[in-house]
């Protein structure tokens, strides 16, 4: 779960990490009030759960309270489009208004989990303010990576290394306190990412976290009640949210073939096989281990809400659940949800034959496929009837071997 900048800063502040003075504004008038209180100039920062908001126009400086109000008015409700958001962008609903800090140097600092070694790792650089991907490409020698052994935690010598490599000899006590406390925060709150970019040295030689980003391990939120409260449901796509409520994993895409699959790996592979057949998936949807009538119905409901969808591909590998039960689930679901587009079903696993019979005999417009490549072929025939199929079809005959 991503936290907003203001939430991340609130947490950091609880761990005695210095942050700029600031307040959240929900309405333009709030921005005016906060600016009056803090003094000028102030910076207004769109609180959206995506990177790259600066380039997208989500960060502005105001020299007067009136200007702050005007900028706020312009930002609220605006849609920011960044590389991460995709073309639909994200709406600005909150602003963080902060006093502008005087900056001498910008540093980069983060803690995350390095999957490869299975340990937390600190990443830091003298080159803050720019994206760390860019730094790692242009100045790889300026990136400091310090793995943390969870058996002993962050050690004094590692803080010394940061002190010397980031040129913070004067700020020794500050960086030491900040790093120790951030590591504690990282572990205490089950973070998966904790980033300050930039962490700045002010012109009075103090350290301040100018920007802050925190992501929390979704699997650990059950034991972090104080974090669970920070979830901002307004930032979620409504369909994805609805799917999640029903225990489904749904991601909207921009094609025309709706997909309903069990298992995330198989769902990805199903999208792949559609692409190779020349089609375009409209979504990623993993219905999970058990395909019940309820989850299948909810899947149909969400998929068919998209007017672009021309056909639905159901791909179920009956591992635990039997195919006749899945077929029954599909038929039950179709009683509650009206599906007007053709459906191609590929069912396999235990009791496959019975399941396929049930679907064929239902009187509904099912196409039943033997395997995924046949299913992909069938569904692209429906969505792109005029177009020649690509090379995958040439091999179809070989399948009997």
């Amino acid at each position: 779960m991503k936290l907003h900048e203001y939430q991340a800063k609130e947490l950091m502040s609880q761990y005695e990490v210095p942050i700029p003075e600031g307040r959240v504004a929900y309405f333009p008038y709030d921005a005016w009030m906060v600016a009056m209180e803090l003094g000028f100039p102030v910076v207004l920062k769109a609180q959206v759960l995506t990177g790259g908001r600066g380039k997208a126009g989500g960060v502005k400086i105001a020299k007067t309270a009136d200007e702050a109000r005007d900028i706020a008015q312009e930002l609220f409700g605006k849609t920011l489009v960044t590389a991460q958001t995709g073309p639909q962008g994200v709406k600005v609903r909150k602003l963080l208004v902060e006093k502008v800090s005087s900056i001498k140097r910008e540093l980069y600092f983060s803690i995350t989990i390095d999957r490869t070694i299975g340990k937390p790792v600190v990443i830091a650089s003298k080159r803050g303010g720019m994206s760390i991907e860019e730094v790692s490409e242009l100045y790889p020698e300026d990136i400091i990576k310090i793995p943390i052994d969870p058996a002993v935690g962050f050690l004094p010598y590692q803080i010394r290394r940061l002190k010397y490599d980031l040129d913070l000899v004067e700020q020794e006590k500050e960086i030491s306190r900040i790093v120790s406390n951030l590591y504690k925060l990282f572990m205490d709150k089950d973070c998966s990412l904790l980033e300050m970019n930039p962490l700045v040295v002010t012109d009075t030689n103090h350290l301040v976290a100018l920007d802050a980003k925190i992501e929390i391990d979704d699997n650990a939120i059950f034991r972090r009640k104080e974090i669970a409260k920070m979830r901002d449901l307004t930032e979620y796509d409504p369909d994805e949210l609805e799917a999640r409520f029903a225990g489904l994993n749904f991601i909207k895409l921009d094609g025309d073939i709706g997909c309903m699959v069990n298992g995330a790996g198989l769902a990805m592979a199903t999208m792949d096989v559609i692409k190779f057949a020349g089609g375009n998936p409209a979504n990623f949807l993993d219905v999970g281990g058990e395909a019940t009538p309820d989850t299948i119905a909810k899947g149909f409901e969400i998929i068919t809400r998209d007017p672009k969808v021309k056909a639905i591909f159901i791909n179920i590998f009956g591992g635990i659940v039997r195919c006749d039960k899945v077929a029954n689930g599909i038929l039950q679901a179709l009683k509650t949800v009206e599906v007007k587009v053709p459906i191609v079903v590929r069912l396999t696993g235990m009791n496959k034959e019975e399941g396929m019979e049930m679907l064929k005999n239902s009187g509904l417009a099912f196409s039943v496929a033997q395997d995924i490549k046949e299913a992909a072929h069938m569904i692209t025939q429906i969505t792109k009837p005029k177009k020649e199929e690509n090379q995958t079809t040439k091999e179809t005959n070989k399948k009997e071997k």
Binding site: K119, I132, K213, F222, R223, G265, A277, G349
Partner: protein
């Protein structure tokens, strides 16, 4: 021969009295697996359809002499269950549980790092040596004993792959899912090493996914150490980009993690790439027959 699990494997099931644990303990036993005991704190002394239940793994180990533990304990308690198995001397641990907090796994990983433990999972379907021992939640009937070893990151894709391989008339020596979580017990390399040494295994199939750099590392290893034919499919060529990884995550990976990066690395290591997952069985069959002159 196969690898790691055999007809002789003796399995205890942690969390055996839960719904899932009970169902799969019995399904494994039905398949032929020697399920010798179960553990549920507080239920010691009872049994699950004849399988004795103990309060602690320690006790189960003393009374039933197992060498594998299969774990169905809910996420908040799963890391403790893994460490209980480790602390009781069990060397092969299969953890099915999905949703274990990452920092719990950081600790587990730190403990097993030096103990010579084989941890399969978490968030995995388990491991199976067809017709010998099934230790996991996979549907047993789709597997057929044969000469292909399969290593998969995903559960259902393991089934899909094994099914295609069985359908073209080939079979599997041992198949397993290494687990879909950020931190899992074993990597591809661990299994490649064992399949390379196993006389029964004649070819190896890798079923990867986008993200991380496990496939790139596997490629390096294959290039240096694997002489048997290796096939690979990596899921996610069509997945939308940039929706999950944070910046710091991205930098650890550098440019690794995309399907292209993985295929390039694997190709360079001499691995046969199967880009379209609809053709896994066929491609393996054809390649082994035509290129390696297998008599199938």
């Amino acid at each position: 021969m196969a690898i790691v699990v055999y007809k002789t494997s003796r399995v205890i099931v942690q969390g055996i009295t839960g719904k899932e644990g009970r169902y799969h303990a019995l399904a494994c036993r039905d398949y032929g697996t020697k399920v010798v005991g179960g553990v549920t704190p507080g239920k010691g002394g009872s049994d699950v359809d004849g399988i004795p239940v103990f309060n602690t793994v320690e006790e189960a180990v003393q009374k039933t002499n197992p060498n594998v533990s299969l774990i169905f304990v809910p996420p908040p308690f799963a890391a403790d269950a893994i460490l209980e198995a480790v602390g009781s001397g069990i060397k092969i641990i299969v953890c099915i549980t999905e949703g274990i907090p990452v920092l719990d796994m950081v600790k587990v990983k730190r403990v097993i790092e030096k103990e010579g433990i084989i941890l399969i999972g978490p968030n995995c379907p388990g491991i199976i040596t067809p017709d010998a021992s099934k230790i996991g939640i996979m549907p047993g009937h789709i597997f057929k004993r044969g000469s292909i070893g399969i290593i998969s990151r995903s559960g259902t894709l393991l089934y899909e792959t094994a099914d295609q391989i069985s359908k073209v008339g080939l079979g599997q020596s041992t198949c397993l899912g290494i687990g879909g979580d950020p931190i899992v017990g074993t990597d591809y390399i661990f299994w490649l090493e064992r399949f390379e040494q196993d006389p029964e295994t004649e070819a190896i199939m890798i079923v990867g996914e986008i993200g991380g750099d496990a496939e790139e590392k596997a490629a390096e290893y294959i290039k240096a150490h694997v002489t048997k034919p290796v096939f690979a499919f990596v899921a996610g060529a069509s997945a939308p980009k940039g929706r999950r990884m944070g910046h710091a995550g991205a930098i650890i990976m550098g440019k690794k993690g995309t399907v292209e990066s993985k295929y390039n690395a694997l190709k360079e290591a001499g691995v046969h790439i199967i880009e379209n997952p609809g053709y896994i069985g066929e491609t393996i069959y054809k390649t082994l027959k035509e290129k390696y002159h297998f008599s199938i």
